[in-house]
């Protein structure tokens, strides 16, 4: 599946970033190939969300390089990064809760000129993956369940047919059956050649579906490699050691 010899879709090198003067990420490097799922794991506060926020331009990189699809995107404003095909579904979904489900989906294509046929195709693809969104199209997004909200947030991103979709804890607060649905949607997206950078607290589930994985600890990237190797490696154990919430996720 890996594009032989081609440059990665996303390549991050020696990235330092944070919030104002607070430095969170130190010397982070990462790469994501087209059409692959990369799981990004690490305990709470490791800096996973900060990394995604920096990639999507919400936070400014203090130093380092971010190359996406052959373009240097460090320092671009978020809407320009979205236009380049890098989409970020933030922690907590961050929908427009007062607007309808249909309007939220429409907002997903803001600024994009789609022909009627193209528009219909994308809607079809969304409704095929998440039929419930069609049923609830007139409801305010705030009235959806957590799982439906996650689907809606992914649907918004799908309106742009992203090259890379970054998902920040999509399973957070979801009932197990909905977690399964969201994870299988991620696999469907990969089959459609969308690359996924997946931040997950359900580490084991994430590593199951991922091709590659990387592990963060205290703002640094401490390991990366094929998902099955990471799943059994020491770095993962080290990253979660002493964390009373996480080891449960690691037990089989």
């Amino acid at each position: 599946m890996k594009a032989p010899g081609g440059p990665p879709l996303l390549s991050v090198r020696n990235l330092d970033a944070g919030y104002g003067h607070v430095r969170v990420l130190q010397n982070v490097s990462l790469s994501v190939d087209a059409g692959r799922i990369v799981a990004l794991v690490g305990r709470n506060g490791a800096g996973k969300s900060t990394l995604l926020r920096t990639l999507s331009g919400l936070n400014r990189a203090a130093s380092g390089e971010i190359t996406f699809d052959g373009q240097n995107i460090a320092g671009l404003r978020p809407h320009a990064i979205v236009a380049a095909g890098l989409l970020h579904v933030a922690e907590g979904r961050r929908l427009f809760r007062r607007q309808s489900v249909a309007d939220n989906i429409e907002l997903g294509r803001y600024g994009l000129r789609l022909g009627a046929e193209q528009h219909r195709q994308r809607m079809d693809r969304i409704h095929e993956l998440f039929p419930v969104l069609q049923e609830k199209k007139d409801l305010p997004a705030g009235g959806l369940s957590g799982g439906q909200q996650q689907m809606l947030a992914i649907a918004q991103a799908m309106m742009r047919e992203p090259k890379l979709l970054m998902l920040d804890e999509p399973s957070l607060g979801l009932a197990p059956v909905l977690v399964d649905q969201v994870l299988s949607a991620i696999l469907t997206l990969r089959a459609q050649r969308v690359a996924i950078l997946l931040v997950e607290q359900m580490v084991e589930r994430a590593l199951e579906i991922a091709d590659e994985a990387c592990v963060m600890q205290n703002g640094r990237m401490i390991a990366s490699g094929p998902a099955n190797e990471i799943a059994t490696g020491d770095a993962l154990r080290a990253a979660f050691m002493g964390d009373h919430g996480a080891p449960g996720h690691l037990q089989s």
């Binding site: 919400l58 809407h79 933030a90 929908l95 427009f96 907002l107 803001y110 600024g111 994009l112 918004q156």
Partner: protein
């Protein structure tokens, strides 16, 4: 209750509602109150009056030129007085001072350029300011048209929020960061809303001119009552602004006729303060409206 007094209250209230709507246009995507809005209304009236009464331009050409000119001034204001402040911090409130400064600058320059004499502006043909004989009321054809035009304008502005751009404005108002992640550029929406909000203010000035005369003292009065209508009607709510505009206009007219004219301002502010003490979010407030 004198029907004629109420009718004139509704006419004045329509103007307050228009000023309030121009506030709202700006406020929704930016959370900024433009305190220069009253002076932009005045500027609209003065430019239009000069173009028609003094330079003899046809009504419609002068109307368009006035809206574009004042819209551009709004855009300049956004660049020099608002953008630098929000660039430093999205939640900064320094714009209170800078937009007031813009208001003072406009008022000063305009006073120097035009002088204090009001300019008479005639309504476009075939409308006139002559009172019609309508039984209990002595209202003019232009005033009737103004009330209708105001309702139509509020409906147009509201329908603009149902377009994709309008929904993006509401998205930015609800969660700016979430909007950024969907590819919406709040900066561009902010520039547009300053242009349109200023042009709308200018249009209010053009519409007000035949009734109030174009004069450099128009600004502060309309700023205050327009702001009151926006607050009572719940900030950001245009239909609320319309009804609150009527409420304030009618209260003012009744206050002037029942008490002595000198008390009308006091009556308005008693009503406004009472409403806001009982309902700080305004009469039509939901969670949509944020307070400053």
């Amino acid at each position: 209750m004198d029907f004629d007094v109420v009718a004139h209250g509704i006419v004045a209230g329509s103007l307050y509602a228009l000023v309030a709507v121009s506030f709202n246009i700006l406020y929704r995507p930016t959370n900024v109150f433009n305190f220069a809005q009253g002076e932009l209304v005045m500027l609209g009236a003065m430019i239009f009056a000069s173009a028609t009464s003094l330079a003899g331009m046809p009504w419609f050409a002068a109307f368009v030129a006035t809206l574009v000119a004042v819209g551009l001034i709004g855009l300049v204001e956004e660049r020099i007085a608002v953008a630098p402040i929000l660039a430093r911090s999205q939640t900064g409130t320094g714009w209170v001072i800078t937009t007031l400064a813009v208001s003072l600058i406009i008022s000063n320059l305009v006073g120097r350029f035009w002088g204090p004499d009001p300019i008479l502006v005639k309504p476009p043909e075939p409308l006139s300011m002559e009172a019609l004989d309508l039984g209990p009321s002595r209202i003019s054809s232009y005033e009737i048209m103004l009330v209708i035009v105001t309702i139509v304008l509020v409906a147009i502005v509201e329908s603009a929020y149902r377009t994709l751009k309008g929904k993006a404005v509401m998205a930015v108002a609800e969660d700016r960061e979430a909007a950024l992640l969907r590819g919406i550029d709040p900066g561009s929406l902010r520039r547009w809303s300053f242009f349109l909000g200023a042009a709308f203010a200018a249009m209010t000035g053009v519409l007000a001119a035949p009734i109030l005369y174009a004069s450099t003292s128009l600004g502060p009065d309309l700023l205050l009552k327009g702001f009151a209508a926006a607050a009572v009607g719940s900030i950001g709510n245009n239909r609320g602004a319309l009804i609150a505009g009527y409420l304030i206009g009618v209260t003012e007219a009744l206050g002037a006729s029942l008490l002595s004219p000198g008390y009308q301002e006091a009556v308005i502010f008693i009503v406004v303060l009472t409403v806001l003490l009982l309902r700080p979010q305004g009469l039509f407030g939901s969670s949509t409206a944020r307070t400053v």
